[in-house]
């Protein structure tokens, strides 16, 4: 299979404009004849559903939650980047593009990233027009804060709830179209399969999560905007329901899966307190604007943090990276925290945490100013830990947070299945091997509001209308496959709960496929994941039937897919014998223990092709071309 990224020719700054002009258009009167399915109603999905319906397409939007407003984009705290240069500090489209490519450790596509930076400003305008209340200065103009991996202030925010405000903006735009009859929403729908007819994506099969009915929906194109797969680690900052089922089913139907091993571990999360732990809570990266990260210099120093004098503290990020300090990118911050903890300098009862200290900022800016900026995060921290971060430093530890990998898409956001598009976190395209903070919201909304509406027209204008219905044999077969799988799950009747098995998988992923990876561990992990998978199909226990609300069954179907995807992540990590961004191979590091890339052999996207059950997947490579930025050893010193 030849991977064609379809990057338009020409100068970087002109590619997207040229491409938009070259796209074929669908006549406004014809748009209502086309139906589009959108799976997922987060920033990318809701924005796409709204924008496409505004253009006149008929849209059906599906989500597993009880309302589209609950998609996990809502939990994003810190902000959204845009190259507005409102702060007069030298920002530009090119700088945002450059920071993103560098932050991704030169493993993303230049053209895609440039387009992202280019439309970033429109996103802010659009959101403000919808009534998104971004923070403002006293004069009434928009305020910005800084995020990791950037030396300019370009992050727009709404307290610590930026994701919520942006999602509610996209959700209301979509609900307006629901009221107008252009979008139909299907909450509590668990998409279980993608249907491909004559080589084109034509629909989905889902399980109605209330009645258990298996239902088919047909359309002229299918958009997946289903988010990331960080829940493969069991404990993550993702919502409990976040899953990879739709993208994994698409993968099994022929969509290539790109860079699965590029997973992001976020440095500032509240540490694990016990084995019953069900999820990890993020403390926004924005806290690193004012919080200082440290550990005691002496590993045996067990005094409470406030009793340790300045001279006996190691502000390790400020020491090692004087120019970026506490605002180094996430991968660097996480790895350094791990290093400190591995050296025995970890703090708290479990020794698996470092301090994030606001004492200096409170002294400098006053408590009120800190409350205004981070009040809700401080409250959240106190609820969980019973400690007051105004008085004692926060304890934080890295946690699985975001996945840069995802379905392979070309410049037009189309997967290797014609008519199947992937938007937002579920595609691989913009963040390379590491995503910068406040860029996920930017990508989700860029894809949903400003990119897909053009790409999809080009596809639809060139595809012929037909009279197919969900009676087509491909739909019937997919329905049968889904029913069979559900019955198989219900009939195992073993002795382990789904959560037990998921936790086992998570432990293997965290220990061997987590922050630091090596060939021996990855080989071992592949075998262990396979064993857990076999155990799952022999030993899982699900109570109840399909024809009712059955939360164990929902979870089981998701974990079954994670158990396959987990192995591919390990395989991808094993073959990528270099360190880059969030993927750290112990075999490949500089003398200062920084990630060492191998551009000669690995400057490519690894795209995996499914090859049948229990057969090794086939690796395809898309070579990355860097015409406008010269890859260098990333340095934040």
């Amino acid at each position: 299979m030849k991977l064609d990224s379809k990057i338009p020719a020409g100068n970087l700054a002109e590619k997207w404009s040229n491409q938009k002009f070259n796209y074929k258009l669908v006549n406004p009167a014809n748009k209502r004849k086309y139906e589009i399915i959108v799976v997922g109603t987060g920033l990318a999905g809701a924005a796409a559903a709204a924008s496409l319906a505004e253009l006149g397409y008929k849209v059906k939007a599906f989500c597993y939650q009880d309302s589209p407003r609950r998609a996990h984009s809502i939990a994003a705290q810190g902000g959204i980047n845009a190259a507005k240069n409102y702060q007069n500090d030298g920002d530009s489209v090119f700088r945002l593009f450059y920071d993103t490519v560098k932050g991704g450790d030169y493993r993303s596509r230049e053209a895609n990233v440039y387009r992202l930076a280019e439309v970033s400003s429109n996103i802010i305008d659009q959101c403000v027009a919808q009534g998104v209340p971004f923070a403002r200065e006293y004069g009434g103009l928009l305020d910005n804060r800084s995020f990791g991996g950037a030396q300019v202030s370009r992050t727009f925010y709404a307290r610590g709830e930026t994701g919520q405000q942006l999602l509610l903006g996209a959700y209301s735009a979509m609900m307006r179209q629901v009221g107008l009859g252009n979008v139909e929403i299907f909450p509590r729908s668990d998409v279980q399969d993608i249907v491909v007819i004559d080589g084109r994506a034509r629909g989905i099969v889902l399980r109605d999560m209330v009645s258990g009915k298996i239902e088919s929906y047909i359309a002229d194109a299918v958009i997946l905007a289903t988010g990331g797969y960080a829940n493969v680690f069991y404990l993550s900052t993702n919502a409990k329901g976040c899953n990879a089922t739709a993208i994994w089913r698409a993968h099994k139907k022929g969509a290539l899966f790109a860079n699965p091993c590029f997973t992001q571990i976020h440095p500032t999360c509240i540490p694990v307190s016990g084995s019953y732990q069900s999820k990890l809570t993020l403390m926004s990266e924005s806290l690193r604007n004012d919080g200082r990260i440290w550990v005691p210099k002496d590993p045996n120093d067990k005094r409470p943090p406030n009793e340790i004098p300045e001279s006996e503290r190691d502000y390790f990020l400020e020491r090692k990276y004087p120019s970026f300090g506490n605002l180094v990118p996430r991968d660097v911050a996480s790895r350094n925290a791990k290093e400190m903890i591995d050296d025995g300098k970890g703090v708290g009862l479990t020794g698996k945490a470092v301090y994030l200290d606001f004492a200096e900022a409170i002294q400098r800016l006053g408590k009120d100013s800190i409350t205004e900026k981070y009040g809700n995060l401080f409250e959240m921290y106190e609820q969980i830990t019973n400690e007051d971060p105004y008085k004692v430093p926060m304890r934080i530890y890295p946690a699985s947070h975001y996945t840069m990998g995802g379905l392979w898409v070309d410049y037009n956001l189309m997967t290797t299945i014609p008519g199947l598009f992937a938007l937002g976190e579920c595609n691989f395209s913009d963040h390379g091997a590491n995503r910068l903070g406040a860029s996920a919201l930017m990508q989700g909304l860029a894809d949903g509001y400003f990119i897909i509406s053009y790409c999809i027209g080009d596809y639809l204008a060139q595809s012929k209308k037909d009279k197919l219905t969900t009676d087509a044999p491909e739909f019937k077969q997919a329905e049968k496959d889904v029913s069979d799988k559900i019955n198989r799950l219900l009939n195992v009747n073993g002795s382990k709960t789904v959560d037990e098995l998921h936790r086992e998988l998570g432990m293997v992923m965290w220990d061997y496929v987590g922050m630091s990876r090596n060939a021996e561990g990855l080989t071992k992990a592949k075998k262990m994941i396979k064993d857990i998978r076999e155990d799952f199909w022999k030993n899982v226990k699900i109570i109840g039937t399909n024809e009712e609300i059955n939360q164990s069954l929902e979870k089981a179907a998701r974990v079954a897919d994670f158990l396959e995807l987990g192995e591919l992540i390990a395989e991808d990590a094993l073959q990528r014998m270099e360190s880059c961004g969030g993927h750290f191979r112990e075999e490949s590091q500089t003398e200062e223990n920084e990630a060492k890339r191998d551009d000669e052999n690995f400057s490519h996207v690894a795209a995996w092709q499914y090859n049948g059950a229990d057969k090794p997947e086939v690796l395809h490579k898309e070579q990355l071309q860097f015409e406008f930025v010269k890859p260098s050893q990333r340095s934040y010193k």
């Binding site: 209340p133 735009a173 329901g241």
Partner: protein, 253 residues
Amino acid sequence: MALLNLHLKVWRQKNNEDEGRFVDYNIQDISTEMSILEMLDVLNEKLIKEGQEPVAFEHDCREGICGCCGIFINGRAHGPLKRITTCQLYMRHFKDGETIVLEPWRAKGFPVLKDLMVDRSAFDRIIAAGGFVAVNTGGAPDANAVPIPKHNLEKALDAAECIGCGACVAACKNASAMLFVSAKVSHLVRLPQGKPEREKRVFAMLNQMEKEGFGSCTNTEACSAECPKGISMDVIAQLRREYFRASVRQEKE
């Protein structure tokens, strides 16, 4: 950290047609560091192992922002503490040997689906009726073109923090959705972008609220007291002003 032994009275209801009943469970060794949902996870693991059906409850982000979770705990929406969602309630706030009563939201507008889960799709329909600014994608003016005074912005954001969990409805004697509707009306009318449709919006959303079977406002402020985001009664006062203003203007026209 301490361990608790607890007695639970949990509302079990197979589906919307079932009558439903309280079922008693005893549960041991619950860490005070657990959230109440993690306590329910532990209960469910135990039930599954014993071959009994686990308790269905809504949850997703487990960090207080998605608005999924919502359990009536000991007679209070989201439990005894102020300004948190159910998932943010930690077991350290309970005593060893305590009885905890868990019920779903009870309101005509929120039919029970199973155990502690209810159908809140009425909220989506209220938003679809008018809870938006009618702008299409593209063509928006520069975000700094219209300055917004910081005070107005902060007030708008206070109202916009609503997570749509439905605690206000559950807490209200009349099962009114007044706080939910008012929060959206207030958020949008405090911003210049929301002003052009202010009359239309307030009518459309209130009409839909009535259609969905929510009652009238009691003025008892239970909604605001139980709101996990602390949305203030001011928004309801503002909705009344908006409604009055819109009615007067409509008469003029």
